[in-house]
């Protein structure tokens, strides 16, 4: 009898073993069979014949003739070609204008994406609450839209003043797309204004459908805008459609569709959504803190929760998109890849690790605090410490640098600069392992939060729970085994190979447990109505930290994305010969990013204030 009970209680162990075996069979075949051959297959399949720098830029048959007749090569500049304006550093001006333009643009482009989704949810659920929230979101982004345009103008102005020849060269290559950009920008403005000002007018029945379609159109136009601007940036990193001297070969699509275009597009779309969510979250948090009535508090709490949900939802896949982008940079040019991950910029990724840690920690903390909204939460609070151990533990690994900073005494004691046990934590397998576990733990936080207020009514509840525990256990064990095996026991060349099965494992765990959870809590009872607004102020500061860290992180990564071009305007084609062609130090970059973040935050607060007084007037 006792044995049966014991078996019942711990059946998740058996299940875990079973799932683990399945995972190993499906994802980690290289591990169970001949490791190296398998790994090579995996690696070969991820790299689809990357064109090297020369190949991408090599003249095509038809292009040769066109270049010979129509387009001049990229100009070779000297210091004298860069106008100096007394008292203004051209690069700093461009840097700030570009970065602020990007922050606002990211925000303005992201908000319509989830406003569209929220509006659709509102239509599907017939819940007016969603529609109101969507309207409030778009209102916040409207003022930001004109600020985006202002900084875009400043950026173009700065380029013409400080880098006239470079701008002329880019403009000559992207003639069509720049004109298209201007036209689409007008289309974007028109759509946005109709979408916003027509919100109240286009309500109900068919009109609402028209409005929703407008939202879709707005997103389509906005995304096109971003893709065009991305192509200019990626052209500077991975030029295509020009010959080795920079003469345009006449194919406009080839220069747009350069090697890094799609990786950047993917990364930016996901990051924009997360970023937009976090900024709107900060807005809701501010309104929450300053609201006087409990209805307002409830409303903004709910809004903040949704914004945070959007931010975390987009944050979870972001490391994978970043990984893909980095892999593609390596594939395009090994030299650029090494510049990115080694040398000066290696330490940038330690700062990045700290910021990403701050993002994950504050996102988790917000969810934990949010459990206070439910009376059923006490059932789960005891598990929080384990999630915290997993998140912090994974984060410590994520943060450990490859090159340790050692005092001379420590150096002496270790006998050399290499640490036998901490050294492997500095390389990719350990980082991948850590980030996968961090994602799983954050997802677990979210699942617990969702469950807080629910009591399952299905008969197989305990089995379902056992299955989920088993799933997570097996997933984490699998990720750990892969990480340890590839981190400590294989050759450098194969160290990245673990990432794919690890990501597969994480995704499988997330998808399967969501399915189980959804089925299990179908028709579940509520413990008590959720008390929206019953959240401590601390949680709101977590939302602020999320927004600030995100902004700062974007600025920092903008620096490195641009920095890996080193002293080139267009890599390998057009050299930057201005006095500012050198790579600034990390500290300087951090100060620039901080200054930019402060300007951005100040303007954002101003916009929030505007949104507030406009509400007062209409109210």
């Amino acid at each position: 009898m006792r044995l049966v009970l014991f078996m019942k209680k711990y059946r998740f162990i058996l299940l875990a073993v079973f799932i683990l075996t399945a995972m190993v069979q499906v994802f980690d075949l290289p591990l169970s069979e001949t490791p190296l051959a398998g790994v090579q297959e995996v690696m070969a399949s991820t790299e689809e014949a990357p064109p090297s720098a020369e190949k991408a830029a090599a003249p095509t048959e038809e292009g040769v003739d066109a270049a010979a007749v129509a387009y001049p090569p990229a100009p070779q500049l000297t210091e004298a070609d860069y106008p100096q304006v007394k008292g203004v550093n051209g690069r700093v001006f461009i840097w700030l204008a570009a970065q602020l333009h990007l922050w606002f643009a990211a925000f303005v482009l992201a908000v319509p994406i989830f406003v569209f989704i929220i509006e659709a949810i509102g239509m599907a659920t017939k819940n007016k609450k969603y529609d109101n929230m969507a309207y409030e979101f778009i209102k916040v982004s409207l003022t930001a839209y004109s600020v985006t345009a202002i900084f875009g103008g400043l950026l173009a102005f700065g380029l013409i003043i400080f880098y006239p020849d470079f701008f002329k060269y880019l403009a000559s290559i992207f003639k069509e797309s720049m004109i298209a950009y201007a036209l689409i920008f007008f289309a974007e403005s028109a759509t946005l204004y109709i979408y916003y000002y027509g919100w109240k007018w286009l309500q109900g029945g068919f009109r609402k459908w028209v409005h929703l379609s407008l939202g879709l159109l707005l997103n389509a136009v906005g995304t096109t805008l971003m893709l065009l601007a991305n192509s200019w940036v990626t052209f500077m990193m991975s030029p295509a459609g020009v010959d080795p001297k920079g003469a345009f070969l006449g194919d406009s699509w080839a220069v747009i569709h350069n090697f890094l275009w799609n990786p950047i597009n993917l990364h930016r779309v996901i990051a924009n959504i997360a970023y937009g969510g976090s900024v709107v979250g900060a807005y809701a948090a501010y309104k929450f803190l300053t609201s006087k009535t409990s209805e307002d508090r409830a409303h903004y709490d709910w809004m903040g929760y949704n914004a945070n949900f959007i931010a975390i939802g987009a944050l979870l896949p972001l490391p994978f998109a970043g990984y893909y982008l980095t892999a593609e940079i390596y594939a395009y040019s090994q030299q650029m890849g090494i510049t990115l991950m080694g040398g000066v910029f290696a330490w940038l990724f330690i700062i990045q690790a700290v910021l990403i840690g701050a993002l994950f920690l504050s996102a988790n903390y917000y969810l934990w605090c949010g459990m206070g909204r439910s009376e059923g939460a006490v059932r789960y609070t005891k598990y929080l410490k384990y999630i915290a151990i997993a998140v912090v533990g994974a984060f410590l690994v994520w943060f450990t640098p490859h090159t340790l900073v050692l005092t001379n005494a420590e150096l002496k004691s270790l006998g050399g600069p290499y640490h036998k046990y901490l050294g492997p934590l500095g390389i990719m397998p350990a980082k991948n392992t850590a980030v996968n576990i961090m994602i799983l733990a954050t997802f677990l936080s979210f699942m617990l939060y969702r469950r807080c207020n629910k009591v399952a009514t299905v008969s197989w509840e305990t089995s379902g729970n056992a299955a989920q525990v088993a799933l997570f256990t097996a997933g984490i064990i699998n990720i750990l085994i892969l990480g340890i095996y590839y981190g400590y026991f294989t050759n450098t060349v194969y160290k990245v190979a673990a990432s794919i099965p690890q990501v597969c494992t994480t995704l499988a765990v997330i998808i399967l447990s969501t399915v189980i959870d959804t089925l299990m809590y179908k028709g579940s009872k509520e413990v008590a109505p959720l008390k929206w607004g019953a959240v401590p102020d601390r949680a709101q500061y977590a939302l602020f930290l999320l927004a600030v860290s995100f902004t700062w992180l974007m600025g920092l990564m903008g620096y490195v994305r641009s920095g890996i071009r080193q002293h080139w305007h267009v890599v390998d084609i057009m050299r930057d010969n201005s006095p500012d062609a050198f790579t600034p130090t990390l500290g300087f970059a951090a100060n620039m990013v901080s200054a930019g973040t402060i300007i951005f935050m100040a303007i954002v607060i101003f916009i929030f204030w505007l949104a507030e007084i406009s509400t007062k007037k209409t109210a």
Binding site: E47, A68, D243, S549, I598
Partner: protein, 270 residues
């Protein structure tokens, strides 16, 4: 208003904390300034200073040590490459045209895939394609003189005799805008024009008749054959023509990219 200042204070605190960490939490590193294109005074060079030039290029502008270092394992170490050149050029997998260590090292820099050391090829290519770029082009863009200096340096490093001769003077067309960097032709037509192929051959717009007609040469000969015919004209002499007519030094004059353009052009002339 109190909340407003609290929020602003909190945000500022977070930003300042990040900035402080970035400034003081990690080691300070000053990135290397952009490489300066060096002007080389070849007349005043001794072989030692030429080797030293190669050293500077190898460790600096050439960015060779990014990959060819003892730590990363991304590329083979080069400290004994000169000594190993002999066995490499006689290796069955060798695809290049060099016969000695000087030629082999030079070729390995402009045509890295000619021989790929086992284990260092691009993944999935079974060591037939090298991940290394042609260092005479692109962002590294070493000139012929610089490449030769690197060869001298590597020969010296390996302890072999340095066989490279210091180029006495840069060829006339090299003294262009950027020191010793020469303008490399971008199209096959330019190559043909620059090297005067049409004086003897029927090729492109040329009507020469001292050498074989090359307008349909691609149909009959492989690229390897054509490349050799340029680099070593006496290896095979077409029926009806005399040996020693064609200059044998195109291999020294042409950039590798020009050679390849020309070979491709001829191979496609069918």
């Amino acid at each position: 208003m109190k909340k407003f200042f609290q929020v602003v204070g909190f945000s500022l605190f977070a930003i300042v904390a990040f900035a402080l960490f970035a400034n003081y939490g990690i080691p300070k590193i000053n990135p290397a300034p952009p490489p300066v294109e060096e002007k080389v005074d070849l007349g005043a060079m001794t072989i030692e200073s030429f080797i030293a030039l190669g050293d500077r290029i190898f460790n600096g502008k050439g960015t060779c040590t990014l990959c060819h270092n003892a730590v990363g394992g991304r590329a083979p170490m080069l400290d004994s490459v000169a000594a190993k050149a002999g066995e490499r050029v006689s290796d069955a997998r060798y695809k290049g045209t060099a016969t000695d260590s000087e030629g082999y090292i030079y070729e390995s820099m402009v045509e890295p895939s000619a021989f790929v050391v086992v284990g260092f090829g691009k993944s999935g290519t079974n060591d037939t394609v090298s991940p290394m770029p042609n260092v005479s082009t692109g962002s590294i863009g070493l000139s012929d003189v610089e490449l030769k200096a690197v060869v001298a340096y590597l020969q010296d490093k390996a302890g072999s005799d340095v066989t490279v001769e210091i180029p006495t003077e840069a060829p006339a067309d090299e003294e262009q805008e950027e020191g010793a960097e020469r303008v490399v032709a971008k199209t096959a037509e330019e190559v043909i024009e620059n090297y005067g192929c049409t004086m003897c051959h029927k090729i492109a717009a040329g009507e020469g008749d001292m050498g074989p007609d090359l307008t349909k040469i691609g149909a009959a000969k492989s690229r390897e054959y054509l490349r050799r015919a340029i680099l070593d004209p006496n290896a095979n002499i077409a029926v009806g023509f005399d040996p020693d007519m064609m200059p044998g030094d195109f291999g020294d004059q042409m950039a590798a990219s020009e050679l390849e353009l020309l070979v491709k052009y001829m191979a496609d002339s069918k």
